[in-house]
Amino acid sequence: MLELATEQGKPLTEMDLADSPLAIRGLTVSYGEKPAVFSVDMTVQPGSMTAIIGPNGAGKSTLLKAALGVIKPLSGQVQVFGRPLDEQRAQIAYVPQRASVDWEFPTRVIDVVVMGLYRDVGLMGRLRKQHISRAQACLARVGMEDFADRQIGQLSGGQQQRVFLARALAQNAAIYLLDEPFAGVDAATEKAIISVLQSLRAEGKTVVAVHHDLATVAEYFDNVFLINTRKIAEGTVADAFTAETLQATYGGRLATAQVDQLALALG
C-alpha cells in the first residue's frame, strides 16, 4: 500500500487520479533492446515537491522526458490532471539538463527567457512590452535581472541553470519538471533555486525534479520516487526514503555504511 499512500495516510482511490497533476501508468521506454524504464506507475501529489532518485542509467531522465512527451514510450500512458498529455502541454514547464544545449548559441539571456513565452506570443505575434517585462520579472525571481543582455556563453554554470529556471517560470505552468537542476551549480545558486521551487509549491504548483544528492533529499523534498529501471518505491520521504528502499534502488552501488548514515540522519 506504500505507493498509494497519501500524506494523510489514506489510500488513494482511482478517482483521485483525475486530481493528480501527473499520473503515469505502465510506462515502458526502450532505446535499444534493453528497456530504460520498465512498466512504471507514478502518481504525483498536487502541490508537492517530488525527487526522482536512482543510480546513473536508472532511467530517471528518461522517465521525465517520457512524461513530457519528448521521448515516445513503447507503451504506457501519461495523464496530466486526468487528461491526456497532448491536450495539457501548456500545464507543464520544463528545465532540461544544462549540458543538453550548446551555450555558444548566439543569443542573450533575455532571449532565452522569452522562448518560454512562445505559447503566448505565438508564431508570428508581436513581442510586446508586457512580454519583455514578464521575462524580466522571471529573471529577477532567480536573481539574474542584471544579466538580461549578457551573451549566454559568458555565464557560469550556476547562472545558466538559473536562466533555464527563469525560462520555465515564463511558461507559467502548473507543473514544473526539472532534470538535475542542482548538477554542477554553486551553493548560492542551489539556495536560490530551492527557494524559487519552494515558493512555487507555496503557490500550489507541483514540482518534480531528478535529484542526485541523497543528503539533501529530506531537506528539499516532500515526496520521493525511487527508480532503477523499475519503480522501487514511491511516497513521502518518511515512508519511502528508507534504508531498505535505498538498498533496493542502488544495490551494491551504495555502500551499506552510507545507507546506515542516511537512515540515521533521517531518524
Binding site: K65, L68, G69, S100, F105, R119, L123, I152, G153
Partner: protein
Amino acid sequence: MSGEEFVPLSLTPLLIGIFAAVACALPGNFLVLRRQALIGDAISHVVLPGIVVAFLITGAISAWPMMLGAAGAAVLAVVLIELIRRMGKIEPGAAMGVVFTSMFAFGVLILEVSDTSTVHLDVEHALYGNLESLIWLDATGWASLFDIDALRYLPPELPRMAVTLVVVLAFTLVLWRPLKIATFDEGFAQTMGIRTEALGMGLVIIAAIAAVAAFDAVGSIIVIAMFICPPAAARLMTDSLEAQVMWSVIFAITAAITGYVLAGYGPLWLGGNDAVSAAGMIATMSGVILALAALFGPRRSRTGAPSEA
C-alpha cells in the same frame, strides 16, 4: 561600364549569383548552428544521379524534368540520411558521408555507362555551372527592365532563382521563432508543442530546394561554399542570431559581387587575357571573407567555450 553593356552581359549573371548565394546562406545559418552544415555538400552531390536519371527518362536537357530529378534525389538523400542517423544511432556527419558519396558515385557510374555524349552533361558542368553564359542579349540598356518584349527573354534561371529566394525567405521569416527555439534546445521546443522533427525535415528540404535551384543555375561549388562560409563568418561578427543572419546575407552578397567582378576583370588587371570561372571565384571570395572574419571578427574568441569541447 554603361547600361548598354552592363544590363545584357552582367546584370543577370550578377543577380542570379546574388540570389543563389543568399538562398543558400539563409538556411545555412541554422544548419551551421545545428552542426548539419555538411548537408549542403551532401545535397549538391546527390543531385547528380537525379539529373542523370531525369535525362535518361526524358532524353533531353530541359530544365523542369532535371529540376524534378534533382529534387527527387535530394529528398531521397535527406530521408536516407535521417533514417540512417535515427536507426543506426550514429552522428549526422557519418550518415551524410555514407549517403552522398554513394549516391554521387552512382550518378557518375550511370553517366559513364549511358550515352550522354551528344549533350552537354558532364561533371565539370555540375561543379562550376556556367554563370557567365546566363546573359540577356535582348536587353539594350536599363530601359529594357521595363520592356515586356525584352523581359520575356530573360534567362529562365533568373526568375527561378528569385522565386526560390522568396520561398526560402518566407520559410525563414514565418518559422523564425520555432526554428530559433528548436535549434537552441530541441527537447524544450518539443515540450512547447513545436514539432521539431517536422521542422528539422522542413529545414533540410528548404536547403535542398535552394541547393537544387542554385545547382541548376550556378553549379554545386557555390552551393557548398554558401551554406557554410557566410553563416560561419557571420557567427564571428555577433552574438545575436538576428544579427548573424543579417551579416550572413551581407557576406553572401559581397562574395557574389566581388567574386563575379574579380572573375571577369581580375585576370585582365594581372595582365592575363582570359576570365576565370565566376562560380569558382565567388566561392573563393566567400572563403576569403570567412578567413578575414576568423582573423578580425569581434566574436572570434569564444568566451564561454567549455574547456572539454
